[in-house]
């Protein structure tokens, strides 16, 4: 029995295809390719959306941590932030809000990759 994979579903039987003995291989393979393309497209869409949601959550956590600090709006804070991956890592270990926000921003970049 010929089988066809539909998008997001398991392999299903296609009895109607059996009656058409003249169907060539290409016609049978076509639905499989379409299903694969559909799956890949949906996967890319979900990865993009997941990256945005995750980075937004991390940024919000960082902003919340920042709001708990007494001198949170000092102009000096604008320039004293981690600028390398190692500085971000050290900042995360010491729970610095700016490092957490930067991690969220970097996650948004990684989401695109």
């Amino acid at each position: 029995m010929l089988k066809k994979q539909e998008p997001g579903h398991e392999l299903v039987s296609l009895p109607e295809l059996e009656s058409h003995s003249s169907l060539d291989t290409e016609q049978v393979v076509q639905p499989s390719l379409a299903a694969k393309k559909e799956f890949t497209t949906n996967l890319i869409g979900w990865i993009l959306q997941g990256g945005v949601v995750l980075s937004s959550i991390v940024i919000l956590i960082g902003l919340f941590m920042m709001s708990l600090q007494p001198d949170k709006f000092a102009p000096q804070k604008l320039e004293s932030f981690p600028q390398t991956f190692s500085q971000v890592w050290i900042g995360l270990l010491t729970l610095r809000p700016q490092a957490v926000i930067t991690l969220g921003l970097l996650l948004s970049v990684i989401g695109v990759l």
């Binding site: 890319i44 945005v52 980075s55 937004s56 102009p75 604008l78 320039e79 932030f81 948004s108 695109v112």
Partner: protein, 313 residues
């Protein structure tokens, strides 16, 4: 698959190698500037508006963020550019996710052209560190004006006619189809003048890296005007691409200290919310109204930026 791998290698090279060798802390201090609780709140609200307007015409919103931060809030342009790079990435990811799932985006065309765009973005990000603030402002304003001009002539067209695949489009299977809910049918389309489109995409990448915008206007022009894709496919594919292009130069801006979290965070969140609202509004508004609104916004922002560059604003 090969093209995707090449683009990924370029992006990784940009973020983890090129970004690491750029000198850190080359800008003058901003400690004389002002900052209070009202700043992130207003930046957030302003970014929602920018994201809303930007997403309506598929540009991501970053094009409006730089004027907003420099002219309204008085931040140095390198901070504004760094924040806008992040906002472009977030907007692109958020809006593109919906467009990709709806099969509006031509991923094959997007990734193929990203080879050219990513290379341009790397070059642009290097050049940005060598140019003065006022020159960047003038360049940015002029580019905005140039970008807006083609939109005037595209108000009436629904679908491009008489387009045939060129040799490159046949080789790489760049043609495709998308479901058009306005026309109530699946629209098939072909792709032409691919080499010219690649050249235009390099320019778009260069501008993106230079000015911290997604340069969606240039991408839409390349896809719509040069390669003759349907407008909806052009804008959605451009939306997908602007984030990838911006990611290529993000590493350099990050290492240079141009992405201050206290500015970039409210911008990214605000732009994202605005873009999501804009994506929902898009279906209910006509293209003509949208383009008229955006043309007005772009014109005002461009003139302001040029004046600012000359020290008049």
């Amino acid at each position: 698959m090969t093209i995707t791998t090449l683009v990924l290698l370029l992006l990784l090279f940009s973020i983890f190698y090129v970004g690491a060798v750029v000198v850190v802390g080359q800008h003058q201090s901003f400690q004389h500037g002002k900052y209070s609780w009202i700043y992130p709140a207003l930046i957030f609200l302003g970014s929602i508006a920018a994201g809303l307007l930007g997403s309506l015409v598929g540009l991501g919103g970053g094009v409006l963020i730089v004027p907003l931060l420099t002219l309204v809030f008085g931040f140095p342009i390198y901070f504004a550019i760094g924040a806008s790079i992040i906002s472009v990435i977030a907007t692109s990811s958020g809006a593109a996710a919906a467009y990709v799932r709806d099969h509006m985006t031509n991923l094959r065309v997007g990734m193929f052209l990203e080879l050219s765009t990513t290379t341009g973005a790397l070059c642009g990000a290097f050049l940005a560190g060598l140019l003065a603030q006022n020159i960047l402002s003038i360049i940015f304003g002029i580019i905005l004006l140039i970008s807006a001009a083609p939109l005037v002539f595209k108000i009436g067209e629904e679908l491009p006619q008489g387009v045939k695949n060129d040799r490159w489009a046949n080789w790489f299977h760049l043609n495709g189809s998308y479901p058009d809910h306005h026309l109530h049918r699946e629209v098939s389309y072909q792709v032409t003048r691919t080499p010219l489109g690649l050249a235009m995409m390099y320019l778009a990448g260069l501008i993106s890296g230079l000015l911290g915008i997604g340069s969606g206007t240039f991408k839409v022009i390349a896809l719509d005007e040069i390669m003759r894709l349907p407008l909806k496919v052009s804008t959605t594919t451009s939306n997908f691409m602007i984030g990838v292009t911006a990611a290529a130069s993000a590493g350099i801006y990050f290492s240079r200290g141009d992405i201050p979290p206290l500015i970039a965070a409210p911008v990214a969140l605000g732009i994202l919310i605005g873009a999501l609202i804009g994506a929902r509004l898009l279906a209910r508004l006509s293209n003509k109204v949208l383009r008229i609104i955006f043309l007005a916004v772009i014109a005002v922002a461009a003139i302001e930026m040029v004046l600012h560059g000359f020290g008049i604003a």
